[in-house]
């Protein structure tokens, strides 16, 4: 069977599986299957949370970015797992005790103000829309390869399918479908990694293979990668920080607290049966997330080595990389490169006219590497590979069997569709329920509410799709911006709501507004106003990364401190929250039912 036919078959089978489970689940007792978490074993609930969480950014984009960034890529790994520790300790059990179902509801009640709740809704919409832009970038990559079309067409097809997926219920909230999606995801991610780790290091476990020796040479895999990339003018793989230590620090921090501030993650902990379960279920979710996240560094380093080995035959042999014969002829390039050229995400330009592919870092400052390039007659790197294609192309690069390639395509589509649809549902309920029904139009009929939700979904998908055609960054980078926005607005408001009894509505509102405005201002300076290219204004402030050399994707970490600081100062000069709110906070801090605690006062 041809590769393309195998891909259609596997993708079709996995989707039949999700739909089948959804129908089976609907046929059973509704209450049991609709409320995520109730009556479901914590381990299964952890898997479902994992599927919710791992989107196109984690599955499609992250390992490719790590491959490009080397050691610095750890900021994604630590940032997107470390946040669960904060979530488990600082938010999940208390939000569960509070007993509300959405973040704006918590903010509205804790800060006794519809104003605070509206601000929270707006912050959520801004962060979620940015998140979906990143997802659409990933969806575009997946669909362009899946259908063999250009990236732009891939985004359009993806928009249509995500919209249908979300409108027809999106299969969200049906825990068993998500468990199935998690299984497809994780199998699709780990199988190629196991194959590749086995062939490069002889160890089938990628987490160990990455620390193993390269093909019985006695040289460790990582030192082999280090040597190859430095020869080709790239920074040393195991030590290259992301811009600076400070930037990496702030970036990691921004992702961590952003994790604990995003609505679609938090919401899963509102519905567990007990406070005790809220603590443990964060742990189980992280176990299943960590399976993918600890595999990703192996995928990254090995894909990088394999990619260079594809275009330069001496990479694995250890001979002269700069000999004429070492670079492969363009006409003899492998089929996978032809397939990705169709999408426009992989491009070749023969700069020195020798009909061969030279792929290296032509902007290097290393004099030794430079001299080697000049002597070899290389006139600039001739291959541009979009980092978002690395994971999907990885099994093709490693010449794995067709069914593995097809499986990865199915996994990528599942990751991108489920999270994008979930976020769309979150946006639509925030607008139609939290904003319209609860605040602006209390007499809105149920039908009207549903309609408003669908219109909100359609608008956000069009906006996100349009911006996804010209994304501010790679998928994972754009998603990182979304985390920064959540980090600078929602997380501080939630945390102070629990840990600072005296925090009042004035403080919380000013903090959220200041935090998210500061972050948006800095991000838009680099990406263009509202992510529209051509409206960048960083020049006005003396060039890119003008605050302490911190990149826009990381600025949410600083934005959170702006939020905390402003909120604290404002709360000091405005009246304390009413007595009953302070008692409410005290009762939230204690797991046992609030009634018993009230009785003691």
């Amino acid at each position: 069977m041809s590769l393309q036919a195998t891909i259609y078959l596997v993708v079709g089978l996995t989707f039949a599986l999700y739909i089948g489970i959804a129908i089976w689940a609907r046929a059973g007792s509704t209450s049991e299957f609709y409320v995520a978490g109730s009556g479901v074993h914590p381990v299964l609930n952890g898997m479902a949370t994992g599927a919710d969480w791992m989107s196109a950014a984690s599955f499609i984009s992250m390992a490719g970015l790590i491959a490009g960034m080397g050691y610095g890529g750890a900021l994604f790994l630590m940032g997107w797992t470390g946040g669960y520790v904060l979530l488990a300790m600082l938010l999940a059990p208390y939000l569960r005790k509070f007993g509300k179902f959405t973040v704006p509801q918590f903010v509205g009640d804790r800060y006794y103000s519809k104003g605070a709740s509206s601000v929270a809704v707006v912050c959520l919409i801004i962060a979620s829309t940015t998140y979906i832009i990143g997802q659409m970038t990933g969806v575009g990559v997946a669909f362009s390869r899946f259908l063999g079309v250009s990236n732009a067409t891939g985004v359009f097809v993806g928009m249509a399918i995500v919209f249908m997926y979300a409108v027809f219920g999106g299969m969200k909230g049906i825990t068993y479908t998500q468990v199935a999606q998690y299984c497809v995801l994780i199998v699709a991610y780990t199988i190629p990694a196991i194959f590749i780790s086995m062939s490069l290091t002889g160890n089938p476990i990628p987490q160990l293979g990455l620390g193993g020796d390269f093909a019985d040479t006695g040289v460790s895999l990582l030192s082999k990668v280090d040597q190859v990339v430095t020869d080709l003018g790239f920074p040393k793989y195991t030590t290259s920080t992301r811009i600076s230590t400070l930037n990496m620090f702030v970036y990691t921090f921004s992702l961590m607290i952003g994790t604990a501030g995003l609505p679609h993650v938090i919401i899963r902990f509102f519905t567990v049966p007990k406070v005790k379960d809220a603590r443990a279920s964060a742990g189980w979710a992280l176990v299943f997330i960590a399976i993918l996240y600890t595999t990703a560094p192996g995928v990254a380093a090995m894909a990088k080595l394999n990619l260079h080995a594809t275009v330069n035959t001496e990479v694995k042999g250890g001979g002269d990389l700069f000999a004429v014969e070492s670079s492969i002829k363009y006409d003899e390039r492998p089929d996978w490169m032809k397939r990705w050229e169709v999408t426009g995400l992989l491009k070749f330009e023969d700069k020195n006219g020798d009909g061969r592919i030279q792929f290296y870092n032509d902007k290097t400052t290393d004099p030794v590497a430079k001299a080697n390039f000049d002597r070899a007659g290389w006139k600039g790197s001739e291959l541009s590979v979009n980092r978002d294609i690395i994971v999907l192309a990885n099994p093709e690069i490693a010449k794995l069997p067709n069914w593995v390639i097809a499986l990865v395509a199915a996994g990528g589509l599942a990751a991108a569709l489920s999270t994008a649809a979930g976020l769309l549902l979150a946006i639509s309920s925030a607008i139609s329920h939290d904003l319209l029904k609860d605040m602006w139009m209390p007499d809105l009929s149920e039908k009207g509410e549903l309609m408003a939700g669908k219109i909100a979904m359609a608008c956000s998908i069009v906006v996100a799709g349009y911006l996804g055609l010209n994304p501010p960054d790679f998928a994972a980078g754009t998603v990182a911006i979304a985390f920064g926005l959540a980090a600078s607005s929602i997380f501080p408001a939630l945390m102070m709501g629990i840990f600072n009894k005296k925090m009042n509505k004035e403080g919380a509102i000013c903090g959220m507004v200041a935090g998210i405005s500061f972050t948006m201002f800095y991000v838009f300076a680099h990406t263009g106003l509202f992510y529209v290219k051509g409206y960048e204004y960083y020049e006005m402030f003396g060039g890119k990364n003008f605050i302490l050399g911190i990149e826009p994707n990381a600025i949410g970490g600083i934005g959170a401190f702006v939020n905390f600081g402003v909120a604290y100062l404002v709360s000091k000069v405005t009246p304390d929250p009413p007595e009953h709110i302070q008692h409410l906070v005290e009762s939230v801090r204690i797991p046992r039912g609030s009634k018993a605690v009230d009785g003691a006062h």
Binding site: I66, Y71, G73, A74, L77, M78, T81, G82, Y84, V85, A88, M89, L90, P93, Q207, L208, L210, G211, G212, D213, S220, L221, L222, S223, T238, T239, T245, M248, F249, T252, F253, K274, V275, K276, R279, A280, A282, G283, L286, V287, A290, Y293, T294, P297, E586, R589, I590, P591, R592, G593, A596, V597, A600, H601
Partner: protein, 85 residues
């Protein structure tokens, strides 16, 4: 539950959180970022140790931390008699 016991429970909780956060900070921001260049002189198999903490080790520690925290919180809840059911 008296006011004092409530306070004592909350301080115990804050102490536990501070302890977990200290480990959380040490493995990720400490070993994974700030001390990584120094730790890279030590090898763990084929991994330079700083690189290992950043791309592997800190994640394993995070998983363990949450379960340890959940267990210790369960003990605190029982000790102060504020646990559910």
């Amino acid at each position: 539950m008296s006011e004092d016991a409530g306070k004592a429970y909350w301080y115990a909780v804050l102490r536990l959180i501070a302890g977990v956060l200290a480990v959380w900070f040490f493995v990720s921001y400490g070993c994974g970022i700030l001390f990584a260049p120094a730790l890279n002189n030590i090898m763990l198999g084929g991994y330079p140790l700083g690189f290992w903490f950043a791309q592997q080790g800190s994640m394993y520690v995070f998983v363990i931390l949450i379960f340890v925290y959940a267990k210790l919180m369960g003990n605190l809840d029982k000790k102060f008699d504020v646990h559910e059911d």
